[in-house]
Amino acid sequence: MAVDTARGRERPPLLAHPPLSLLIAGTLSIMAGSCLAGLMLGGVALPPAGILEALRHEGPAVVQTIVWKLRIPRILLAFSVGGLLALSGALLQVLLRNPLADPYVLGVSGGAAVAALLSFMIGLPLYWVMGNAFLGAALATALLLLLTRLTGPITPIRLLLTGIIMASGLSAVVTLLLALSPEPTLHTLLFWLMGSLAYSPGTVAAGMGLPILLIAILALWPFAGELNVLLRGIETAQSLGVHTGRLTLGLYLFASLCTALAVTQAGMIGFVGLIVPHLVRMTVGADHRKLLPLAGLWGGSLLVAADALARSLLAPRELPVGVLTAFLGVPLFLLLLARSNRTGILRS
């Protein structure tokens, strides 16, 4: 009778019916704040005035280079990676109807990691590594769906279990490959695995990342209503006219694609995909018409901010951003778990 004893202490989302203008203004200021932090913090701390100068292509050449060649590409990259992870976390949490689902749980990133490590070890150039990592992620997704289907019907809980098993199998392969890899590459590989935005080929991928994120958000938006219906379970969704088979298969693939793109660009960055959708739900509720775009944009902002901290906390040394997100994520998640008693967000 947990429901009864918890009654009366339930809290609605902070802003159950926020005016659209407030949502937009709030999100824009979060984005602006994180980008400003991303520009200011780092190996060399830059004052806002110097950044403004450099943005107008004025002032010292070094500052201009730092801003245009290093920090802006990196902000773009971090934003797209964080956004894609949060988006795919939001999708997987509905698809598996499990609040603990996140992009790494299903072994998609494991597939990417194995493929990338193998490509590294046989000495392929960087863009091949990225391409293969993407292929590995796609193969892992296909294998996951296939294995789940071969052993029975595709249900959320069976997918989750198969995914967990596959993920641990693949992480064993990763460990094996690391043990076999030669000393000089080991350092690079480890950092990539820990999650870092530093070993990315930079501007090319960064320039593409943001449009990809925006396209992903726009492509998902028409399905927001059907995702809401899916919250009530497969059968109710079917009786409300949703083609659940088509929809869920498409969305699993879409979520894997987002994860694959993020993993190939930045390695294994945990917690963004888990935390951000819950943060959004706690603030504005679970309506996917609000949740999907906000998860994308807030996830991007969060990773930009985390990356700024990772670059500046122990400057000139740089921490793997995955460590930072974990440091932020663990207490945040525990807080959420404590709060969930009252909000029912994580109640099964």
Binding site: L231, E235, S239, R289
Partner: protein
């Protein structure tokens, strides 16, 4: 009058027993049907089959509004027919209002933007279910009975021609049991809707339904007017325990002897 739902030659079986054999029935607008039978006899399976959530055997014919079930595009079908399932997943936290609004999903346009009529119907469904005051709370905050009423509100907001209801009043207090039964009867009589509901209470069945289908297990079934079918003898055979009837000021009351 054209039947809302017409079933012919339906054979259904659960893994261990036949549910119905050669079942044929016509549900007309304005009729309220009750499906009664012991636990596990297959009432829910039958309702889900009628709703198209489970595949029907190839030789069976299930027609909704004069067209085979499978011929309806799914969204259009969802405007014609709604099913209240016995259990729905609680899901992640939509508010009470947002949850009831899901019932309007098949009526919404391409961009899923609810219109004035959708909001009005959702609000009136919540009022009938007695949840108007809680419409901004998270749906998980509701008690078991209130959650059940929310599921009913969702189906009411859907506003179909045919309501398939799997034990609509479980977990409801006496007031809401009566209130919702009376509302469905009103929908049938005044709005020409058809209602088919699985029930456990023969007293409610004889008071609120016009027709009943009794499922005895082993594929045996009996259907007809409620007053004629709901006799102590039939109910004794149905539940395997001695059922007696007593006359009250509001009609027959059944109890176990």
């Amino acid at each position: 009058m054209n039947p809302t739902l017409e079933v012919a030659n339906l054979n259904l079986a659960s893994p261990h027993d036949a549910i119905c054999e050669n079942l044929s029935l016509r549900v007309l607008p304005g009729e309220v049907w009750g499906i009664l039978g012991p636990n596990g006899v297959g009432k829910s399976t039958l309702l889900k089959t009628l709703a198209g959530l489970r595949p029907a055997p190839a030789m069976a014919s299930i027609q909704l509004g004069g067209q085979p079930l499978g011929h309806w595009p799914r969204r259009v079908r969802a405007r014609r027919m709604a099913i209240l399932l016995q259990d729905s997943e609680p899901g992640l936290p939509l508010t009470v209002f947002e949850t009831a609004l899901l019932g309007r999903h098949p009526h919404l346009g391409l961009w899923g933007r609810p219109h004035h009529v959708d909001l009005r119907r959702t609000l009136s469904a919540l009022r009938i279910a007695g949840l108007n005051g809680q419409r901004h709370s998270p749906s998980q905050a509701l008690s078991a009975g209130e959650s059940r009423r929310l599921s009913v509100a969702l189906v009411l907001a859907q506003d179909p021609d045919l309501y398939l209801l799997d034990e609509p009043t479980t977990q409801l207090d006496l007031h809401y049991q009566r209130r919702l039964f009376e509302h469905f009867v009103w929908l049938a009589r005044k709005r020409g809707k058809a209602v088919v509901m699985a029930l456990h209470d023969p007293t409610a069945a004889i008071r609120f339904t016009t027709r009943v289908l009794l499922l005895f297990g082993g594929g045996r079934s009996l259907m007809g007017d409620s007053g004629a079918c709901l006799t102590p003898d039939h109910l004794t055979a149905l539940y395997g325990t001695n059922v007696v009837a007593a006359q009250s000021s509001r009609g027959l009351v059944f109890d176990v002897f």
